[in-house]
Amino acid sequence: MFNVDITGELVAFFAFAAIIIGGSVLMISLEKVVHMVISMAAAFLGLAGMYVLLDAEFVAFVQVLIYAGAVSILMIFGIMMTKHGGGDGQPARPLYEALVAVGALCLFGLFFYAIRTTEFPDAAPSAAVAEDNTMAIGELLFSGYIVPFELLSVLLTVAFIGAIALAKKGAD
């Protein structure tokens, strides 16, 4: 496992992993809410790089547009519309937070054990890598997955109308 040769993919993987984990840990530990959202946007951008590394260019662009763009801006607007009294405040229940941390660590231990003990059979390499990732995804999306695609468009419409109705109700 550990005597792997250093390849470009490995170096890029560890660089992006450092960005992602650093961003998410900063998101947990920073004081101000806006700084948390900015570090989270950095983690989202690192994940987009990871998708490029995994030959998923279209998903990477969707990640940049939706997460690093739309969701981060939406969260910043949410922060602007609400009031935040100087950081997260004192931890009211330190025992509870410690218990949650222990639980998350135990879950990670379980995941790590399961990943290390599983034999992953080698696949035929680059069998599915299409020449034009976006075109292949588009063809698949509009041939095999047309019903979930339409259901998702209905879901998005309903969700956005619902969001407008929810946020507008108390204004007048």
């Binding site: 990871m50 998708y51 607007f77 949650v100 998350a104 992953f120 599915a128 995804i137 879901l155 956005f160």
Partner: protein, 100 residues
């Protein structure tokens, strides 16, 4: 390479779980949920390249997940704004009317 991606996704998921359960600011709780969904997306895309049967299906699934996550974020922020109008705070510990 597949176990490395899976381990990274597990780390992300656990950080997101801790944030969703322990943080008091509701916006940070929503962000932690997004982080957990992103970990799942990373797993899907990793399996679509390194799985037993490499296929584009994993990427399609991850696009669907991103769409649902965007809808969830929009509705979540809208509910948050409505709650803030009603209660004057975004502390999740203040939203306990249904428990009492």
């Amino acid at each position: 390479m597949l176990p490395s991606y899976l381990t990274l996704a597990a780390i992300l998921f656990c950080i997101g779980l801790y944030g969703a359960l322990a943080k008091r600011n509701a916006i940070i709780v929503l962000l932690s949920l997004e982080l957990m969904l992103n970990a799942v997306n990373l797993n899907l895309v990793a399996f679509s390249k390194y799985g037993v049967v490499p296929a584009l299906t994993g990427q399609i699934f991850s696009i669907f997940t991103i769409t649902v996550a965007a809808a969830e974020a929009a509705v979540g922020v809208a509910i948050l704004i409505a709650l803030f109008r009603a209660r004057g705070t975004v502390d999740v510990h203040a939203f306990d009317r249904m428990r009492r």
